[in-house]
Subunit: 464 residues, 2 copies
């Protein structure tokens, strides 16, 4: 693949033009107004897959938006890579905060990206990243360098929770059979700090309501004699952590995988400037579970956070009531091997048990998500590590992060294979926010790196 780097630089402008073509279509899956645009985007993705030399390219019908599927089956004896990505995007709101039209991509020079960055909704999440795969496949197919079978599916409902993909995967297990799944929908720690996302936290999410008196009461007439649901809620929430900032729910930590000293050392080897982190967040001190570093707390440790809280009078000025009820949304980030339904049940049981008799407590459970872990000695991880080492010429870090990508545990469950999360975005990409962007350097680096993944994965597969 000596000419790979040359191919990429030769074709840079065409790659960008083609990506811009896709970025111009506002494929907002959350809003039915954009339905035709979402469909048009699927058609364009199909066009580029065909152009890349993939076979059997089709818009796979689903209960919702189609999945664009393509494949190149070379030899059943070779390993099969399943590529996943999505062509839908987040809504562009708030529009007034964009410095350019979210659906009219422009290249902007920034401090982070002296080579320019592509500013458009979906540039990083995930049109730009999934398009790297199509371009890398184009290179490998046209140069007869594809060392593995490949299947690629790009869905159109990621931003609404992938309902149709779930249905599609469950109904196409054989068709999607693979040895490894490759996904670029995450970020690098930094341009000079290549990384592979090795762990994702899961989620348990509840809404709790503490009901006191049947109606708001005058705090002068009843204050002191009647339990105030907002005070009770505060007391109950406060009691969910102990003085060491550990969660007090009985059984909560039972299934938590404790990382080895070696693994923890690898996590803490990631270049990390705590002062810069605090400055970025605008806080003067950090706070978290005793005995763990900030990097560990944000990745391999479970959490319990209030996402929203409300009750009583919240307008201007003073109103003296005892609110009838108070509520909170509480999310728990889970780590292997915690199970969302089990944690939700433990939370519910505990939260009801600590309610004083003076109030009624209701716990409503929302949809949760499983945590995910990719062992760093897995062939898929190792191939990605070597690929990144090759193109970056630097040490590659396993990156354990707190975000969840629900389809990854789904793939593991339904297809029995692990996913390699080799993303090329940056934390500064502003995904889901105004002025989303994706560095031209990152886009090209992705296209250059992907073929090495195939090479190393296939080599390893042959040996095994």
């Amino acid at each position: 693949m000596d000419d790979l780097s040359h191919y990429v630089s030769e074709n840079k402008q065409r790659f960008l033009d083609e990506l811009f073509d896709i970025l111009r279509i506002p494929s907002v899956s959350t809003d039915p107004v954009y339905a035709q645009d979402v469909l048009n985007t699927a058609e364009r993705v199909k066009y580029y897959m065909e152009k890349a030399g993939l076979d059997n390219v089709s818009l796979e019908e689903t209960p919702g938006y189609p999945i664009v599927y393509g494949e190149k089956i070379i030899d059943p004896a070779l390993p099969t890579v399943l590529v996943y990505g999505h062509y839908d995007v987040q809504p562009p709101d708030p529009l007034e905060l964009w410095e350019s039209d979210p659906f009219d991509p422009v290249i902007k020079i920034t401090d982070e990206h002296p080579e320019g960055t592509i500013v458009a909704r979906g540039s990083s999440d995930d049109k730009g990243q999934m398009f790297m795969h199509i371009k890398a496949l184009e290179y490998m197919i046209s140069h007869n360098l594809l060392p593995a079978n490949v299947k690629i599916m790009i869905e159109g409902e990621e931003e609404v929770g992938s309902p149709s993909l779930t249905w599609y995967v469950q109904n196409n297990r054989d068709k999607l059979a693979n040895d490894i799944i490759l996904i670029s929908d995450t970020s690098l720690i930094g341009k000079e700090t290549p990384s592979i996302t090795a762990g994702l936290r899961g989620l348990s999410y509840v809404e709790v309501t503490v009901q006191g008196p049947s109606h708001d009461l005058h705090s002068g007439l009843y204050g002191g004699a009647v339990a105030n649901p907002a005070n009770v809620l505060a007391r109950m929430i406060a009691s969910l952590h102990d003085g060491k900032r550990r969660i007090t729910i009985p059984g909560f930590y039972d299934k938590v995988v404790e990382f080895s000293d070696e693994d923890r050392a690898r996590i803490n080897a990631i270049p990390f400037d705590e002062e810069a982190y605090k400055r970025l967040l605008g806080v003067e001190a950090l706070e978290g579970e005793e005995g763990y570093t900030t990097l560990e707390r944000a990745s391999i440790r479970p959490t319990l956070d209030v996402n929203g809280i409300w009750g009583g009078y919240t307008g201007e000025g003073a109103k003296t009531i005892i609110p009838s009820k108070a509520s909170a949304k509480i999310s728990m980030r889970l780590v292997p091997d915690q199970e969302p339904d089990e944690i939700t049940a433990l939370f519910t049981k505990h939260f009801l048990s600590i309610a004083p008799p003076s109030v009624k407590v209701d716990v409503k459970a929302f949809h949760g998500g499983y945590p995910y872990m990719m062992p760093t000695d897995h062939p898929g991880y190792r191939a990605a590590e070597k690929a990144l080492e090759t193109t970056f010429g630097r040490k590659v870090y396993p990156y354990y992060t707190g975000g969840s990508i629900p389809i990854v545990p789904l793939f593991e469950k339904e297809l029995g294979s692990k996913s390699v999360l080799m993303g090329f975005g940056l934390e500064t990409d502003r995904i889901h926010s105004p002025n989303e962007n994706f560095g031209v350097w990152n886009f090209l680096k992705g296209i250059e790196t992907i073929p090495y993944f195939y090479r190393y994965f296939a080599e390893d597969f042959k040996k095994a």
Copy 2:
């Protein structure tokens, strides 16, 4: 005063017709739309004061709505009673919950009032109650039975915090000089349980904000590593009470007057059905400061209540953020001799001191109010007690309540005299709510009782 009862029953229809005349004018002081109505109401009150035989009746100019003033000065050697009331009313909203037009009074028969109750905005608060005084004075003046000098002032801004009254009182100390102030703007414990309001709680009111990161954070990426302001706020609020439900702010109880066993026994002698109270409030258990009864907790003990709390995502469904900040409105009810400014300062100092370094805390103070206590051996209290005993033929209870009437501490400060809170409303009057009403029986009972107050107060004054 043998013919008092006869006079009241003879003139009942006229009294009601006159009151209805005043109730028909929508004197909503909170809404400028009603400005002319408020002024028209003042004119009508002036008319009825003149008709009652009062002298020097005038609309006293103020920076806001006028105060209707009248007097009957008989003899400088006699004691002087200053009567206070208000002619403005709360807005009628929500209109759709009224069973009849709030400004077209009707008499309705209810379980509570088989003799009928006057349904109209302001019937109990305070047009009906202040009008009892005009009618009682009419009786005493026309029958030459007035045993004291009387000054009466009826204001039009009580429902907006009495700003002009404060100005007026401060600028008319000599004119308003008196030996006792008499006010009917409160309730009886029950028709068969006559009472005098002997204590009112004061108020300290703050809004606190706990600021964490400068913007909302993804709870997956940052959860566990960064202090969550909503969790911190819950923790801080929870810590403001100890396990005995006492307030933990240092110095908070220093000036609290502990009631004697005898006084507490009097409070607890009030007929009170805790089961009925719980049913009314819709709670299964009560909660409050250890060592005190429900009646005591709601009246002679200070409190700390969250009136409102908010932060983060409060819409439908699940959103996984660490909110940038969380806020709460917190009110403290004060008892003698706590001082609102001092308590606000103690709260602020303590709340800031318990803030962890991971957040910034802001405390904003709102206007507070002094607590008030009328000693039960005060001549004014004793005169009211005897008057009620005379007309009700029952034991009279001192009633300590948690509500505040800011003008009462103001009068004490500016005029140096105590107020007798001899109200004839009932808890079921629905003041400030739709279908406000005032029992015809209560209205007439008030007119009958007031002259006895003058008699007993003057007799006692002569003896002293």
